[in-house]
């Protein structure tokens, strides 16, 4: 029986290695300096790159962090500090339910409330959609991390005369900060790869733009468009973009993991 269970685990690990292996094999050959600095060219022409997608991903994910992180960390702090009542239960439950909501629904929500009133697709609508996606996830991980802070720290600060809000911010949140950052990194890694919410908010753009009121390309949108196209050249670029995206996600996840490991391994 141990063998069966080990075999099942082995299959799952194998699936990951297959996917990553394919990514590296198919994508690595297309990556060169041009890939990072040029914008796409017409099909049939060689060369071109995905600079617009890389810049777009960075800008939209950055804006999503600016919008979403304060809300998420605030909600997480609320749940940890004051969330033992009924309202806390409701917020926790809603956050968990929202974590499971399909990202396409968030996309059409952002379309209804942002794109349609504004009259055009824009990167800011895409950023808001991404922020809505990341907020419940980061709120819950923040709550978990702040809960881990021992009560003795809180009581000591209160006994020394700190008001409750100052205890919460300067003592508790600061102690939990590595964990909060880890949760934020995991959330960022997840939204960096999202496509569905950007399909009808940021729409995509063949040109490199940094203006938030314009449609913007992202790596995920690029992979989708190129993967579905009939051109071999574009398929190669799709694989290369997938490799870049996966590397970004991997680096963020590894950094998040390393930060937690260092925390639990060290003496405190």
């Amino acid at each position: 029986m141990t063998g069966l269970v080990a075999a099942l685990a082995g299959i799952a690990v194998l699936a990951l290695l297959l996917i990553l292996g394919n990514l590296v094999v198919k994508g690595a050959s297309s990556i060169d300096w041009d890939f990072f600095v040029k914008t796409p060219v017409s099909p049939g022409q060689p060369g071109g790159g995905v600079a617009n997608a890389i810049v777009g991903t960075i800008i939209m994910v950055g804006m999503a962090c600016v919008i979403g992180l304060p809300v998420a960390i605030g909600a997480g702090l609320y749940l940890a500090e004051y969330g033992s009542g009924r309202l806390g239960w409701v917020v926790r439950f809603v956050a968990d339910v929202m974590n499971g909501t399909p990202s396409i629904i968030i996309g059409i929500f952002a379309w209804t409330w942002l794109v349609r009133p504004m009259g055009h697709f824009s990167a800011i609508a895409g950023s808001v959609a991404l922020a809505i996606l990341m907020a419940p996830m980061i709120a819950r991980t923040t709550e978990e991390m702040v809960r881990l802070v021992p009560h003795s720290l809180r009581e000591a600060a209160l006994a020394l005369g700190y008001p409750r809000w100052r205890t919460s911010l300067r003592v508790v949140a600061r102690t939990a900060l590595p964990g909060i950052v880890t949760g934020a990194l995991v959330g960022i890694a997840r939204i960096a790869g999202e496509t569905a919410p950007l399909l009808f908010t940021a729409l995509g753009n063949l040109n490199l733009t940094t203006r938030l009121s314009q449609p913007m390309q992202s790596l995920s949108l690029q992979i989708y468009a190129y993967g579905e196209s009939p051109f071999d050249e574009w398929h190669r670029l799709a694989w290369a973009s997938a490799l870049v995206l996966m590397t970004l996600v991997l680096v963020l996840s590894l950094v998040a993991r390393w930060a937690t490991r260092a925390r639990h391994g060290g003496a405190r």
């Binding site: 269970v5 799952a12 399909p102 819950r140 409750r164 809000w165 399909l199 993967g227 996840s253």
Partner: protein, 335 residues
């Protein structure tokens, strides 16, 4: 003595009611404390507000279609933008069947991984394998889709479907021509995508089972496997069912990978080798192409049905998981 930043506590009069009132008063003795709490509460309330707004926005936008087609929308198979007649039955069928197929494949794999990681794996292998499973959850959906188009479908076409057809081709489930994009491909890729979620949550549920359950079984003479299957798993049963339902919730809402491999055809076919459609894929494909207001409203209707189904499934899953593993953020790292 330097001035303390809190107001002095009034002298004690020793009744219990007084002390309770003093504690309640102490909590809000500082106006900045009250403001802090208000700000945090406001930030926290944005989450339920967002959920309500999503539901409201979907219902309002879907209202024309809801009014015109009513419940008939759910079992009509006609999707005719030209004649402005819409019915979502193929999409609902495709969503449910592809998710069910994914569960059938994924649950044994995921439970195997979870049991392996908590019960049987040697210590040194646990962290790496757990990390690998987390990484599977981190792969973006569109990358799965790309891999599905260029690696999985050719693999299915050459190595999986011929033996399946040879063995089971006489059943209606494996008949017909296999083009590549099909319900089977959708189901398999969904299975790979939900294994990490079910495995992570199941693992946390199994870790939450108290050790004395396993120890008692072992003490009564059970083998390791018998202890797991007979003592640990039944204790965590509702949590594991919750984990499976959570995976189902993810599979129901998955958009990009599915739309790239499932064929996107508005049709209900019994055979798994035929193309199919799911609600999320329909919205993704046709939203920007919707030419009339009724078309758009019909798509919002589809989105509303999907939203309601996933909210119910996720709520059920969370309640089940909370029963065993407590209010903790279960599987949060993988989610």
């Amino acid at each position: 003595m330097t001035a303390l930043p809190i107001e002095p506590i009034p002298p004690a009069t020793d009744t219990g009611a007084d002390r309770d009132e003093r504690w309640r008063a102490f909590r809000s003795v500082n106006s900045s404390d009250r403001w802090y709490r208000r700000v945090l509460t406001a930030l926290a309330l944005t989450l339920p507000a967002l959920l309500l707004l999503v539901g409201l926005g979907l219902t309002v936008s879907a209202w024309p279609a809801l009014e015109r087609f009513g419940l008939h929308f759910v079992w009509s198979s006609v999707w005719d933008p030209v004649a402005e007649v819409y019915g979502a039955a193929p999409m609902i069928y495709g969503t449910l069947v592809s998710s069910a197929l994914a569960l059938v494949i994924a649950v044994p794999l995921a439970l195997g991984v979870a049991i392996f990681l908590t019960e049987f794996a040697p210590r040194w292998i646990r962290q790496p394998v757990a990390f690998v499973i987390e990484l599977l959850a981190a792969i973006p959906s569109v990358v799965y889709g790309l891999w599905g188009i260029f690696v999985l479908i050719p693999f299915l076409r050459t190595a999986v479907v011929p033996p399946l057809r040879a063995a089971l081709g006489w059943t209606p489930f494996f008949s017909g021509v296999f083009y590549g994009a099909s319900m089977l491909a959708g189901g398999v890729i969904l299975a790979i995508m939900i294994v990490p979620y079910i495995a992570a949550v199941s693992r946390e549920v199994l870790l939450a089972v108290p050790a004395h359950q396993r120890e008692a079984a072992l003490g009564l003479g059970a083998t390791r496997w018998e202890a797991v299957w007979g003592a640990v798993m039944p204790y965590g049963r509702s949590g594991i069912i919750g984990a499976v339902i959570l995976g189902l919730g993810r599979a129901l809402g998955e958009t990009m990978a599915v739309t790239m491999v499932i064929g996107n055809r508005h049709d209900i076919a019994t055979s798994f080798l035929q193309p199919a459609y799911t609600m999320a894929a329909a919205v993704a494909n046709e939203f920007t192409e919707a030419t009339t207001a009724m078309y758009l409203s019909a798509l919002f209707d589809v989105g509303l049905i999907l939203f309601v189904i996933t909210v119910i499934v996720n709520a059920l899953a969370r309640l089940l998981v909370w029963r065993v593993a407590g209010n903790a953020v279960v599987g949060s790292r993988a989610l």
